[in-house]
Amino acid sequence: MSGADFKVVLLGSEDVGKTSLMKRYIQDRFQCRPHQNTIGAAFASRTISTRGRQFVMGIWDTAGSERYYAMSQLYYRDAKAAIVCFDLTELVTFDRAKQWITELRNHEEDCKIYLCGTKKDVVDDGIKAPALSHEKALQYAKGIGAVYMETSSKTGLNVGELFQLIADECVLPSIHNRDDSIKLRPSPNKNNACCLAS
């Protein structure tokens, strides 16, 4: 039971904007209010269509706080794609992103990695200088066979594109093979059991 056709996980340091990215994608909203840490992880899903078919994408937004690190496998296990976020203006978050990628490579070989530089608007508006060049991040991503994107949850830049790309690249190969199992999946037994008992 997974609640969705495929699973995407958001990873990265505290405060890099994972929750904002999910919120922009799911609700098309952005709130600039003081940072509210995610506690554990949050789940949301959205239907997305790729090549004429609809799929439910389940997104796990994890907490960046170090204390949840020990639990992280619980959240990224069996993910088809991981969006590993770093704040374009904070170098330490890029280093942390690299660590996440190493860990994913070790534990979740089949998970595609999308390296995501967040808060692009802050850089574009000149509020803060970027902590590393676009080229450097891109080069790193290429080196590990990952996609690199720069997003802004404030303006919406590249947010929809990122998730669409994930759907296009991740859904088809595996889901196609499991077409039947998908139709059968919404576990009718469990549902009925609960209804009968009430």
Partner: protein
């Protein structure tokens, strides 16, 4: 400290009045007590077992305390206070003196500790590691207080060297309370009227909050591996929980009483909500607790048959919900350790608000880390059923209700009261009316309750009945085997009127008991 004069007045009168227990005139009925409670019954400090230290006044001759008392130049009983002298600065310099003896750096960081706003805070809470590393400071950034933390660590280890434990220091209107929990030291420096045992209970709560986010297992392991570990790395974001808990401790009677307040609902309504949740969850294995809360009150709690929830754990859950906006945004799946339930491990909590249009929060707690989706489905079904039965509306109506003021109870003599049912660890009180509506008024009322509570539960000499007359109000506290009642009256109320008011309150509670309290103990 407002005025120590008035407090002495209180004490004097109180002492005189204690002799004349009017208990004989009080009705002697006790509200019905369920056979089994969903919450572990609490008898105040019982909930912290031996953790609350005995009143130091009773331990004057104890060798263990001699050391501490030598340190405070002016050892004073907690009831004698001297507000004329500058309590804080003297106390701080006393701390520095200690550090000279133990040859530790004694220069307290000037920037923060000389700041008058920082100094004027009534109550400081500090958390540090046994190696002296700052973990948390209630006021002021703990980074800027490194030296002060060093001093506290030196003090604790200096006394600890001889196998003693520093528990409290009483110095000129300032009380220092320490709680040493394995690798962690918690300290409170305050000028409030709280007692050592009350503050120790609070420090225990703060410690439980930390255990709740880390588990005792992890906490112990970290410091075993690295004594010098900076715990703030792991607690990032959780300071907010501690801040919020401390505010709750200062402003809400719930933690003082070791009890929770229930959202008032007709008992049939509550029962239907409960049975709806049970029916949607009873096929799910390993679900330990289902808890529905709203407006800091308990709507219902269902438990696995063999397990009970301790009110202290429920307070941590309420604190988590109240201080985490992020639960409102999306369905969450989070580890939580309930120290009284099992301090060594995490439970996994599915946390979600019922609906955009119903702001009650449902927590489904399990030991199974793979249960998110079954719980998510169950939650959806619960909401559908509650909606169809118009129960979301009932919850909303109860949440929107401003609360019952004491004036509606037909007890004109009483200004406010708190009634705690001991067996169920639940309490109820009317919504504060003047003069307790303002935040200062509410604070003063809670202070009065605290004094009353402490006197009634004083480990050295617990009382059953206490009547304290003050220029501001007359306070009555009464403890029976079934309940605790704390009442604030007009200052000039006569004893006869007070007694008749108490009887009226008890009758009213008895009448409305089924709506105000959860009197059954539902299980899956």
């Amino acid at each position: 400290m407002a005025s120590s004069k008035s407090e002495e007045d209180v004490d004097d009168k109180g002492e005189n009045d204690e002799g004349k227990h009017p208990e004989g005139n009080l009705l002697n009925f006790e509200p019905e007590v369920p056979v089994e409670s969903m919450l572990v019954p609490t008898d105040n400090f019982d909930s912290f077992e031996q953790e609350a230290p005995p009143d130091p006044a009773t331990l004057q001759d104890d060798d263990n305390l001699v050391e501490c008392q030598k340190i405070a130049r002016n050892t004073s009983d907690e009831n004698t206070e001297d507000p004329d002298k500058n309590g804080t600065s003297r106390s701080m310099s006393e701390l520095s003196l200690v550090s000279v003896e133990s040859s530790e750096p004694q220069q307290v960081d000037d920037e923060v500790s000389n700041n008058s706003e920082w100094r004027s805070q009534e109550k400081h809470i500090f958390i540090l590691s046994s190696a002296g590393k700052p973990i948390y400071s209630r006021h002021g950034s703990e980074d800027k207080l490194v030296t002060l933390f060093g001093v506290m660590q030196a003090l604790v280890s200096f006394i600890g060297d001889d196998g003693d434990t520093v528990r409290s220091i009483h110095a000129q209107g300032t009380l220092f309370v320490f709680l040493i929990k394995g690798p962690i030291i918690l300290a409170c420096v305050c000028k409030t009227r709280e007692s050592v045992s009350q503050i120790t209970v609070q420090l225990n709560y703060v410690y439980s909050q930390i255990v709740s986010v880390l588990t005792l297992e992890q906490l112990t392991r970290i410091y075993e591996q690295r004594r010098n570990y900076d715990l703030r790395r792991l607690l990032a974001g959780a300071e907010r929980l501690v801040d919020h808990l401390l505010i709750a401790l200062e402003t809400q009677p719930a933690l003082l009483l070791g009890a929770v307040q229930c959202l008032p609902l007709a008992s049939t309504t509550r029962d239907t909500i409960t049975s709806t949740i049970v029916s949607c969850c009873n096929k799910i294995k390993n679900l330990v607790f289902a808890i529905l809360v709203g407006g800091n009150q308990l709507v219902t709690l269902i438990r696995m048959k063999k397990f009970f929830l301790h009110p202290a754990d429920l307070h941590l859950i309420l604190n988590l919900v109240n201080s985490s906006e992020s639960f409102k945004a999306a369905e969450s799946w989070t580890p939580i350790c309930l120290p009284k339930f099992n301090s060594r491990g995490f439970l996994h909590a599915h946390v979600s608000y019922l609906a955009e249009d119903c702001q009650a929060c449902l927590l489904l707690l399990t030991v199974d880390p793979d249960l998110f989706f079954p719980l998510s489905e169950a939650k959806q079904k619960i909401v559908e059923k509650l909606r169809r039965a118009s129960l979301l509306q009932s919850i909303n109506a109860a949440l929107a209700h401003p609360g019952t003021p004491v004036s509606q109870l037909g007890v004109p003599e009483a200004r406010h009261f708190l009634y705690k049912c001991k067996a169920t660890a639940q309490f109820w009180g009317p919504v504060p009316a003047p003069p307790y509506q303002s935040s200062e008024g509410a604070k003063r009322l809670l202070d009065q309750y605290r004094v009353l509570h402490h006197r009634l539960h004083a480990p050295s000499q617990p009382l059953k009945l206490l009547y304290l007359q003050d220029h501001a109000e007359t306070m009555l506290g009464w403890i029976t085997t079934g309940f605790e009642l704390y009442v604030a009256f007009e200052p000039l109320v006569t004893k006869a009127n007070a007694i008749s008011a108490v009887n009226k309150i008890l009758r009213w509670i008895k009448k409305d008991e089924n709506g105000l309290f959860i009197t059954n103990a539902p299980t899956f």
